[in-house]
């Protein structure tokens, strides 16, 4: 083939006149090299200064007092402000970044995790990540990130271990036309559920875990799927219908509700479904046992008309929602019980999410949110400070290191001039 294409490309190329290049390329290239060498020297010096400073800091007795917002809880925390990444944030290719607290898709379409221990956002260079397959899900414990990609003519769902950087293919389906629309973990991270509007010739949902997979073809297009830790699947249709497992049977049965259900999530005991619903002034939860929709109105003076999307459960009664107000204010994280009662809870502004785009793809390691202690002042998320730049508590060391490096370079330059 393609001798003709080859010839035609040569014809196209042959018509290109030599493009002018700058006459000072050599000078600029060598100057860039000198700058790079100087920076490398400075970086080494900064590193040495930082190590020295770090040792001094570590040995200081009042280390805790230096962090205004307190120590990061053991195991990490969810940041109180979840913000999009700068466009020029470097891509992290070493995927062993450690457990993450948050995962989302940035405005630039890149997969982002925020590491749990330091609150630092990282733009992940996931192998095979493609804009047209933007789906990811962080496990409740923050260790695994599930996403899809194409691999040698098959579409796969992969599970990336953020602690080791190793990737495991959980599900493989021949063909590159297939896309998975949603990926969702069970409350304990035992199972990963997926839905696809085009799985071969038909819509389908499925559940997977290492070494085990089950696929169910559907006569309608699913909009969302959820799975319990015991592997029971439930799903919603594009028309807002809710389908749950039927006792004693393998199939799913439609449940009649007075709400149109979007995304949803099972409670750990499987008794409740946290529902994503149309804009309103309350959150909605489906009680699987009584087949009723429970509502918890937003308390007066808090949120107005808003859309709520479930992101997980803290325990069998407390769910976490990302609520997107329609008045234009930023989305926020809310922790609430299914309904109002003697022991009910509603905690707003647990964290903020900078854009609706992030809120729509947000996935949280809900295990990192501490158990409630009954007080309204308890911090459920952590203020990591300015994580886009230098960590706050070592910035002065780095500043001193840079100053020392500059002084040393100036000294070397002076010495060089005297010698030559």
């Amino acid at each position: 083939m393609s001798d003709d294409l080859r010839t035609r490309m040569h014809h196209v190329a042959d018509e290109v006149t030599p493009l002018p290049v700058s006459a000072d390329l050599w000078r600029r290239g060598r100057a860039a090299r000198r700058r790079a060498q100087a920076l490398a020297v400075a970086a080494v010096l900064v590193f040495l200064a930082s190590v020295g400073g770090g040792v001094a800091l570590w040995s200081a007795p009042d280390r805790e007092a230096r962090t205004a917002s307190g120590e990061v809880p053991a195991g990490g925390a969810i940041p109180s402000r979840i913000e999009d990444i700068p466009e020029d944030l470097e891509v992290t290719t070493d995927l062993a970044v450690g457990r993450a607290s948050v995962a989302f898709i940035s405005a630039t379409g890149d997969p982002v995790v925020i590491t749990a221990n330091d609150g630092v956002p990282r733009r992940l260079g996931l192998p095979g990540w493609a804009l047209e397959r933007r789906t990811l899900a962080l496990s409740p414990d923050g260790r695994f990130l599930a996403y899809q990609r194409v691999d040698a003519g098959t579409t796969v769902i992969s599970r990336l271990d953020l602690e080791t950087g190793r990737e495991e293919v959980l599900h493989r389906q021949p063909g590159e036309e297939l896309t998975y629309d949603t990926l969702t973990w069970s409350p304990g991270g035992e199972w990963l559920a997926w839905s696809s509007s085009r799985y071969g010739d038909v819509p389908a949902v499925g559940r997977i875990r290492p070494g085990e997979s089950r696929t169910t073809a559907l006569p309608f297009t699913p909009s969302s799927v959820a799975v319990t830790d015991s592997g029971a699947l439930a799903l919603t249709s594009m028309r807002g219908g809710l389908f749950l497992p039927v006792d004693g049977q393998r199939g799913l049965g439609r449940v009649t509700t007075d709400v149109s259900v979007g995304a949803f999530a099972f409670s750990p005991d499987g008794h409740y479904l946290s529902l994503g619903t149309e804009p309103g002034t309350s959150s909605s939860t489906f009680d699987v046992r009584t087949q009723e929709v429970l509502r918890h109105p937003f308390p007066p003076g808090t949120l107005g008309r808003s859309a709520a999307r479930p992101v997980g459960w803290l325990d069998d009664r407390l769910q976490v929602l990302v609520v997107q107000p329609f008045d234009g204010s930023v989305p926020e994280l809310v922790v609430t019980t299914p309904d109002v009662g003697a022991a009910s809870t509603w905690r707003g502004s647990v964290g903020s999410v900078s854009t609706n785009g992030i809120a729509n793809s947000l996935s949280l390691a809900v295990d990192l949110i501490p158990d409630l202690d009954g007080t309204s002042s308890q911090e459920l998320t952590h203020d990591f400070g300015d994580t886009a730049g230098t960590p706050r508590d070592v910035s002065w060391i780095i500043g001193l290191g840079v100053a020392a490096a500059i002084a040393l370079l100036l000294g070397l330059r002076l010495l060089w001039r005297r010698l030559t």
């Binding site: 083939m1 393609s2 003709d4 294409l5 080859r6 035609r8 490309m9 040569h10 014809h11 196209v12 190329a13 042959d14 018509e15 290109v16 006149t17 030599p18 493009l19 002018p20 290049v21 700058s22 390329l25 050599w26 600029r28 290239g29 060598r30 860039a32 090299r33 790079a36 630039t108 040698a152 003519g153």
Partner: protein, 165 residues
């Protein structure tokens, strides 16, 4: 004062500028972007000249391939179809050339780069994979997809591309 290295660099630029320009144009589909691409690659070569001066062309070409894909990924510019450059060829040939240009411009940078390496630079799949740090299977599938997309975008090019490509 001009050093031996600088003289060698200047000689390389003078000797290979035209060939590099041709490849850069095919990679980008735009004269201005092609010029930027050649300059960026040559500046990198100047930076590392002492290391690469024995075979600078391979280095420069590799830099161009990667830089082109990197620019596209970072979206620092948007690609647009080429509209009416040159015009020295006869009418029929110009129509066909523009169609090929326009169709190439609709491919992703990765697809275009793979096609240029395979069908303009005449590299094998293995050599293309090595030059782009890709697997051979990725090169194969990218080539297949790129040709299929060319056929879709420009059915009039089907004779050039071949049905089984």
């Amino acid at each position: 004062m001009i050093t031996g290295d600088e003289a060698g660099f200047d000689a390389f630029v003078a000797g290979r500028q035209a060939a590099l320009s041709r490849t850069a144009y095919l990679l980008t589909g735009d004269h201005h972007l092609a010029q930027d691409l050649v300059q960026a690659a040559l500046m990198q070569a100047a930076r590392h000249w002492t290391r690469i001066h024995t075979s600078p062309e391979a280095y420069v070409r590799r830099a161009m391939y990667h830089q082109n894909i990197s620019w596209w990924r970072r979206r620092r510019f948007t690609e647009s179809p080429l509209l009416g450059h040159d015009g020295t060829a006869d009418a029929v040939d110009t129509d066909l050339r523009l169609t090929l240009d326009q169709a190439l411009a609709r491919l992703t940078a990765k697809q275009r780069t793979v096609l240029v390496l395979r069908f303009y630079e005449d590299l094998t799949e293995v050599e293309t994979a090595r030059a782009l740090d890709l697997s051979t299977s990725t090169v194969k599938s990218t080539t297949r997809h790129a040709l299929a997309r060319l056929r879709t975008l420009a059915p009039e090019l089907a004779d050039l591309i071949g049905a089984d490509a």
